[in-house]
Amino acid sequence: MTLAEECIAELDNALAEAGSDAVLRRFFGTGPNQTWVDVTLRVAERAPTEDELVAGYSQNDMFIVTSPTQLINAQFPGGQPVGSKPAWLPKAGTGADKLFIFDQQRQIELVDPIKVDNTVVRINLKLKG
């Protein structure tokens, strides 16, 4: 097992034991023609600390840690035009993905993939409530 595989396995075990389910939704199109693709992720969540609140974060913000495993297993977001950039990581900014956690829809503000030897082993997300 490579170091990256070990990191992912450890994170998956921790999330299986102590994490929660959340649904990542990617939107395609706009208005009445809009459609989407969902994938269920295992996540660990936390609210901003006191220091982070002082630094400008809001109480509605949320920090998420998730694993690449469910995204890769689901082959998220499905078939893409051949030659297009792979887009399985959650998207922030314009046209951002949404995360449904504890029955609340939240916008992804920041995506921070952690890599070990060129392999994504963990994904940190910052959400706006």
Partner: protein, 131 residues
């Protein structure tokens, strides 16, 4: 692996052919249900959504279903079994609109969409449940 997978989602449909990356590792799937949903805006003419399977990791592709859409909203589905006997060889070739062949199911499946004109504000959503 069993599950539901998007094969192609297009919110911008232009004249020509678009080939989509395949869904892989479906060796444990004995059947697939294919669902095509087309929401029409304006423009366009004829749209064919071909579903193809590969038994050689994407070197060659066998058409197994073809959805045909025109200029109206439409939703259609096929169910294809990989366990159905085919004791007479099936010629491999393009399928006509709204046609499918059952009994041939590889472990890779992809969509190939062909439009004969530009569609405006229209959406094509192709999904598959493998089980």
């Amino acid at each position: 692996m069993a599950g539901t997978y998007p094969l192609a989602i297009m919110s911008s449909i232009n004249e020509g052919e678009v080939v989509f990356t395949p869904i892989k590792y479906l060796s444990s799937a004995h059947a697939v249900t294919l669902y095509g949903r087309f929401v029409y805006g304006s423009g366009g003419g004829q749209l064919f959504a071909n579903i193809e399977t590969s038994l050689d990791s994407g070197s060659t592709w066998i058409p197994i279903a073809c959805f045909a859409f025109t200029t109206i909203n439409s939703s259609k589905a096929f169910n294809l079994s990989g366990l159905k006997d085919q004791i007479s060889p099936i010629p491999i070739g393009a399928l006509s609109g709204d046609e499918a062949i059952s009994g041939i199911l590889g472990d890779w499946i992809r969509a190939r969409v062909v439009a004969d004109a530009d569609y405006v504000n229209s959406t094509l959503d192709l999904r598959m449940t493998a089980r």
